[in-house]
Symmetry: C2
Subunit: 225 residues, 2 copies
Amino acid sequence: MSDIKLINIKESILKDNDNDAEFLRAKLARENVFMLNIMSSPGAGKTSLIIATLKVLQHKYRISVIEGDIDSMVDSEKIVQNGGHAVQIHTGGDCHLDAFMIKSAIDTINISDFDLLFIENVGNLVCPAEFDTGANLKVMILSVPEGDDKILKYPLMFQVCDALIINKIDCVKMFDFDFEALKNRAALVNPKMKLFEVSSKTMEGITEWSDWLSEQIDDYKSRLI
Amino acid sequence: MSDIKLINIKESILKDNDNDAEFLRAKLARENVFMLNIMSSPGAGKTSLIIATLKVLQHKYRISVIEGDIDSMVDSEKIVQNGGHAVQIHTGGDCHLDAFMIKSAIDTINISDFDLLFIENVGNLVCPAEFDTGANLKVMILSVPEGDDKILKYPLMFQVCDALIINKIDCVKMFDFDFEALKNRAALVNPKMKLFEVSSKTMEGITEWSDWLSEQIDDYKSRLI
């Protein structure tokens, strides 16, 4: 029995990825760089939120955005058009980003030119939740049109995130979205998760979110010294 | 060299699934049952579209809905509350439904009691596109709040579907959604894909979509005889 070697593919992939992620996090710490992994469904507003956040934080930090998509340059082009710096990853079919992909993206830039890296993950509430990218913080966006019941259906994503940003609150009148029900569900699955209500379109709530993010970055950097 | 056996896990999984799907499709043909696989991002309105379609088609067909979620009974409860029949699959973490899961769900019902099965896939624009569920028709829903650029980012999903339903058109004024740009992109990646513009909320366009679906079902059934 003891001579039989079992290769559990998924466990092995996740373990290798965890090692890559820890290695990458240590490298970023040495370089004094903070990295943020932003996840959501397709079309929940990851790119728009990043652009809105750039407007507030780009006077304070030197920022780059790592864009993950199966195909296209749409999002990285938007970032650049809005005055940001972007690196585009094409996963070629993969439904999530992993630490190796992020390391490959970071290897294309001069990391000492930046203080803060945003990762815009592939739009997906399932697989990205399982893969540590090496980021210091995980944030998910839920947009009002998606509905308030997503925690029940995609629990892992809500369990692993440090903050939940409810986006597109400017169109709340068009949709049946119960904020109290959502907050109660969030408190059950992840009581430590910080909640924000924003509209990247009107900029409502963007300052509160950016201030909190800035606190997390400054706290991280003060611990590195 | 010829003695070395290569096990390509992904190819093997997809091939096994394709065999299961063909087997299931043959079984449904023997039973004179039509099956439809509905896919979209989380919150694009799969359940609402199914309920709206039930209202139009339930006088003509005996219908059951196979609900696929990682967790929760939310969607199947909604179907039942609206007078429908539902079977809930919990994938336990998997980001898509496959033919084996659908066969397992069908094995719990008396298939001769039904003419039409809806599959509501896990909300995800990536992995569900790769797995044949044994359905006769693949339909995807794109909701207006998600934006008109999704074809560029998730091309496979748009390539494999027979119809694309643009949902939530009642709130089009709230969002920058370019219908012409979407149609041009759709024509490039999948010119045979049928397009519908609907609102499950106001029932706009639901008759056109249901009539077309009914034609596909009747055509399928006439070929079985």
